[in-house]
Amino acid sequence: MKFTRRDTILIAAGATATAMLPMRAFAAGEDEIAAFTGGAAIGDSGVTLTAPEIAENGNTVPVEVNAPGAVSIMVLALGNPNPGVCTFNFGPLAGAQYGSTRIRLSKTQTVTAIAKMADGSFAQASSEVKVTIGGCGG
């Protein structure tokens, strides 16, 4: 197959568009993180995220977050069309800074939990979940 000038331009444009796609989702996730932390540095201890290693059905993936001393925990799925999943805000009567729910994942990806501690610091935990059937419909 011979590449003409026009072909080359088309291929280059296609490759650029493909490369941009995950970048855009990632950038949206970065925005969510920045909005939550206000740009503060994020530590990596103090929060635990429990998620299955393999989820056969991306429609209901059980996840658990636990961060003693946190005031709120945000859960993100950076590979989803919208990265936000949910934010737990703990009130004065919360028995433990713990929450468990079921989420949708569109594909194999890393799920991230960011906890905001009472002293204003942040902690992060991530877990890779392999998804067999995506949960966003088509």
Binding site: N59, T60, V61, A77, N80, P81, N82, G84, V85, C86, T87, F88, N89, F90, G91, P92, L93, A94, G95, A96, Y98, G99, S100, T101, R102, I103, R104, L105, G135, C136, G137, G138
Partner: protein, 109 residues
């Protein structure tokens, strides 16, 4: 429109003062994500529950912001401290403006 929305909550009927209990909640709701298309290719508009709160005698226990990535029939499990006998109020806020509530009493003993 969300139809047949039924909240279900499990709270122990009694606890010791100061004890930490586990509360489980489930509400039947389609949680339409706004990503799916129907058979003729048009996007089904988003219709989800966007906020869930639990209060005990007027004091907040947990306040959760939900996004479309929460599964159909949103389930939450969390822990609450019981300072005295009283009533738990659970509230779900729908995108369409509906508010669903459920209450559960707890005794000390």
């Amino acid at each position: 429109m969300a139809e047949n929305v039924t909240p279900r909550v499990r709270v122990p009927s009694s606890a010791a003062a100061g004890e930490v209990i586990t509360i489980k909640t489930l509400i039947s709701h389609v949680m339409e994500s706004g990503q799916r298309k129907n058979s003729d290719g048009t996007l089904i508009p988003r219709s989800i529950i966007n906020r869930f709160t639990c209060d005990f005698n007027g004091q907040n226990v947990i306040d959760v912001t939900l996004e479309p990535a929460i599964s159909t029939n949103p389930y939450f499990e969390f822990q609450a401290m019981v300072p005295e006998a009283g009533t738990y109020t659970f509230t779900w806020y729908d995108d369409d403006g509906s508010v669903y509530t459920d209450t559960k009493d707890i005794a000390i003993g």
